[in-house]
Amino acid sequence: MTRYAMVIDTLVCIGCGDCVTACKAENQMPDGLTRDWVVEKTTGEYPNLSTEFRSERCNHCSHATCVYVCPTGASHYWRDTNIVLVDGGKCTGCKACIASCPYDARLIMHPEGYVDKCTFCHHRVEKGLDPACVSTCPTHCMYFGVLDDPASEVSRLLRTRNYKTLLQETGNQPNVYYLT
């Protein structure tokens, strides 16, 4: 399996939401639905404070519970990668994947009748482009690449910087990394 990873530098992210609107435009998302979102977490007391912004989305887990629970095979890995997609034609809308996703990364329902989610912009990835959010971010705080390639920028960052993933304890092996 080729593992694609997204690495997001929280020390640079300003929480502007451009990743959200870029995704919305690129993927022509219906009104009211977004595949990514920004979380702000402030800790401490005035004036000893710290704020972390995180651009969040599907973690394209190497062990994706949504893929394993899907009764129809609609949730699947794209080609031989960790990119998790939903085949709209096979999705019955049973919502097992929504319940099983620890990141709440699945939209309730696309108006065309299937559960929708981030695709890591696989339609761009197969053309050698970064996902729309990464290529639009005005702070260049987002990186995308192949984790198995030690020469990739994402590998280099994870070798040289402190990072975390979200809900590591679920065993889902998420592939969105946050530099801290």
Binding site: T21, Y46, T119, L129, T136, T139
Partner: protein, 729 residues
């Protein structure tokens, strides 16, 4: 992914004009893939804010798809911001103005009637001709903000008036421009000439970069963060930038000048300033030295609440990284009425650090020498826009909007007709909500030209619907920048509804006013073609590439030890301002005490949110989705005292009894207990803006105590205080 691959694709877009169908291998996964149809690309200049980023509009099988940055553009660097990325929302807005509207009176019942363009334009022309005949053409004033304004400035001057005003002067960055002109002989300009990508240290004085999303400012700021430049942020609020800072100085609001003077004191009395630079280029150092002698950090501490040690340490960091230390000039600086003096202090501090003209500080801008399309000379006009100031504000080199309001009321008014282009005055100019009605009652004619039924259109006699930036040609963008460049805005789509481009509206009015010789083109493309030919390009070329860069002819920075003649009376950087001395103002900045809140009141701080531009974008459905309304930031202690709950609505009431619309409370540690904060631009009252109407609170209407800067007329807005009023259920 490597960036090289991205650029390669972009280069294809640029060179190939665009289009070859992109065939994708079906839809094996069952998920529809965007860009599956015939993809076409055309250039634009974004108009969602006034940074004017060059962009590319993508269509998929002729349907609007997305707008992205032009990779060759220094304003966008290939990446549009949150708002620019949502540009299609302006085009798609179902609430757009759709036809010209004329105010009609039916037995005392006023309403707007849809009329044809001919009816609307004839009506305006008749009114203006009568105005010129009865009172003179100089009685016409233009309020404008935005890139289409040039067409109407041209019309105004041809008609015989010089009176145009942009709120960006008195309500925004005017004090900064004046202060730097007084000091260096030149202003900062827009885009700001800050060289943050090379800065080793940046000090922000209340500037909330990141929330204020001026594209290349934020991108170069982010570059500085990537480069681990030292960041010092002075802000009473734990802003996004404060959260990225090495030093956050949570200053007591209104005391910035005390801090700036103390920093100067440390640099001078600890001998940390740039001796050679100061000696070579500046005037008045010894006077400055004497002036700041007693302004020690210990003096500043009780005023600012910033401990002396922190003031010293941050000054040391600035000095250690000089001249690549940028004391940032900010942008919206109309705060307390002594704004020119505060920005003078910023300018002086930069001079002590030797950063003006140096990498990491301020660079020298250059634009393209682009000839104007030949038209007859404008009529000679003696009336000046400054006449409205009635002898006040001697350094106001541009119109002061609050003074223009005052000069438009009453029988002896200087102005009897307004054209308001893309400027939503009620949510822009503070303290004018009542004045606006008075002005409107006094004016013979108010024409509003806009793309949406903003509040100002409700005051107009005639409303002209412009098409959006995605549907029109406009003047070429020729911004002074690091690299001179020209950028083209061209229509990606046909104008929706019965809307027209600004250039067409101006020409039609011009012809009806007998000024046809000033508009000798049938189509604005002729103007663009002619101008582009003069600089060795063509419209056809620009339609393909969107943006063309030109070589610099002047240096970007000062060279080592170079002799420079500054455009000031002494030819030097004026630490001591001979011009201010001559005008009777303090030639060196002084700290003045500002008003404090009464018990139970909190200082009203306001600012930008990255998802919105002023009050212009709240009805854009994409931006509405990520920020539908603003919230009022309240410190937890204050929330406890008042029993305010996170997420609950309250109303704000200011010191003069003005009440806001309801607004949700955000209880957060990120605000000082003596202040509240809300994002500007919300609380719309225009029923035609169906998404934005009634959402959140309008800060501008709460700003009724305006501290006018006596030097240049800035509307200081930060001496306003609010308390909480429970919402009636």
């Amino acid at each position: 992914m490597k960036r090289r691959e991205f650029l390669k694709t972009s280069a294809f877009i640029g060179a190939g004009a665009i289009a070859a169908p992109v065939l994708m291998g079906g839809c094996a996964s069952g998920v529809r893939r965007p860009g599956n149809g015939e993809v076409t690309v055309s250039p634009t200049i974004c108009d969602i804010c006034f940074w004017k980023c060059a962009g590319l509009v993508y269509k998929d099988d002729g349907r609007p798809w997305k707008v992205v940055g032009n990779p060759n553009d220094l304003h966008s660097r290939g990446r549009l911001c949150t708002r620019g990325t949502s540009g299609l929302g302006a085009y798609e807005d179902r609430d757009r103005l759709k036809t010209p509207l004329l105010r009609v009176d039916d037995n005392g019942e006023q309403s707007f009637k849809s009329v044809t363009w001919d009816e609307a334009l004839d009506y305006i022309a008749a009114k203006l001709q009568k105005l010129a005949a009865d009172h003179g053409p100089e009685k016409l004033a233009l309020f404008s903000h935005g890139s289409g304004g040039g067409h109407f400035r041209h019309l105004l001057k041809a008609f015989g008036s010089n009176s145009y005003v942009a709120p960006s002067f008195a309500q925004c960055r005017g004090a900064r421009e004046v202060a730097f002109k007084l000091t260096y002989g030149e202003g900062i300009g827009s885009p700001d000439r800050t060289d943050m990508e090379h800065s080793r240290c940046i000090a922000l004085i209340g500037s909330h970069l990141g929330e204020n999303l001026h594209n290349s400012q934020v991108q170069t700021f982010a570059t500085a963060l990537h480069n681990k430049a030292k960041l010092i942020t002075v802000d009473p609020r734990f802003s996004v930038a404060a959260g990225k800072s090495d030093y956050w100085l949570p200053i007591k609001p209104g005391t910035d000048i005390a801090l700036l003077l103390a920093w100067m004191h440390v640099l001078i009395y600890e001998d940390l300033y740039d001796h050679d630079y100061v000696k070579r280029y500046s005037h008045g150092f010894s006077a400055l030295k004497e002036h700041v002698e007693h302004f020690t950090p210990e003096w500043a501490y009780p005023i600012t609440t910033i401990p002396a040690a922190q003031i010293r340490e941050s000054a040391h960091v600035m000095a250690a990284n000089a001249p690549a230390t940028l004391v940032h000039p900010g942008r919206h600086v109309a705060w307390y009425g002594d704004d020119t003096q505060r920005l003078r202090a910023v300018a002086i501090l930069n001079a002590l650090l030797g950063s003006w003209g140096k990498p990491g500080g301020y660079y020298m801008q250059e634009k393209v020498n682009l000839p104007k399309y030949p038209v007859p000379e404008y009529p000679k006009i003696t009336a000046r826009v400054q006449d409205a100031n009635k002898g006040k504000y001697p350094e106001a080199y541009a119109g002061v909007s609050t003074a223009m309001f005052d000069a438009s009321i009453g029988p002896d008014a200087l102005y009897k007709a307004w054209i308001v282009y893309g400027t939503n005055l009620p949510l822009t100019v503070p303290g004018v909500v009542g004045r606006l009605q008075e002005a409107v009652d006094s004016l013979d004619l108010l024409v509003a030209i806009d793309i949406q039924p903003a509040e100002i259109t409700g005051y107009a006699d005639v409303v002209l619907p412009e098409c959006t930036y995605l549907e029109r040609y406009d003047t070429l963008r020729n911004s002074a920048e690091k690299q001179p460049s020209l950028a083209l805005r061209m229509p990606a789509f046909k104008p929706k509804y019965d809307t027209k481009p600004g250039w067409w509206i101006a020409k039609q009015l011009g012809e009806r006013l007998g000024l046809g010789e000033y508009f000798p083109w049938q189509d604005y493309k002729e103007v663009l073609e002619w101008q582009l030919k003069q600089v060795g390009s063509s419209l056809a070329e620009m339609q393909k590439i969107g943006l063309k860069t030109f070589p610099r002819k002047t240096p970007l920075y000062f060279s080592e030890g170079e002799d420079i003649e500054f455009n000031t009376p002494t030819g030097k950087i004026e630490l001591y301002s001979t011009q201010l001395a001559k005008l009777g103002f303090d030639p060196l900045p002084k700290y003045t005490v500002h008003q404090e809140p009464q018990p139970g009141y909190y200082r009203l701080n306001y600012g930008r949110a990255p998802a919105h531009t002023f009050g212009r974008t709240q009805n854009n459905k994409y931006l509405f989705e990520i920020m539908p309304e603003n919230v009022v930031w309240v410190h937890p202690r204050v929330a406890r005292e008042w029993g305010l709950e996170n997420g609950r609505y309250v109303k704000l009431k200011n010191q003069d009894g003005v009440e806001s619309n309801h607004i949700r409370v955000r209880v957060t540690e990120r605000i000082r207990p003596d202040s509240v904060f809300l994002a500007h631009g919300f609380g719309h009252t225009a029923a035609g803006l169906r998404l934005a109407n009634g959402r959140g609170a309008d800060d501008t209407s709460l700003i009724t105590n305006i501290q006018h800067d006596p030097i240049m007329g800035a509307s200081g807005m930060r001496a306003n205080f609010v308390t909480f009023v429970e919402e009636e259920v």
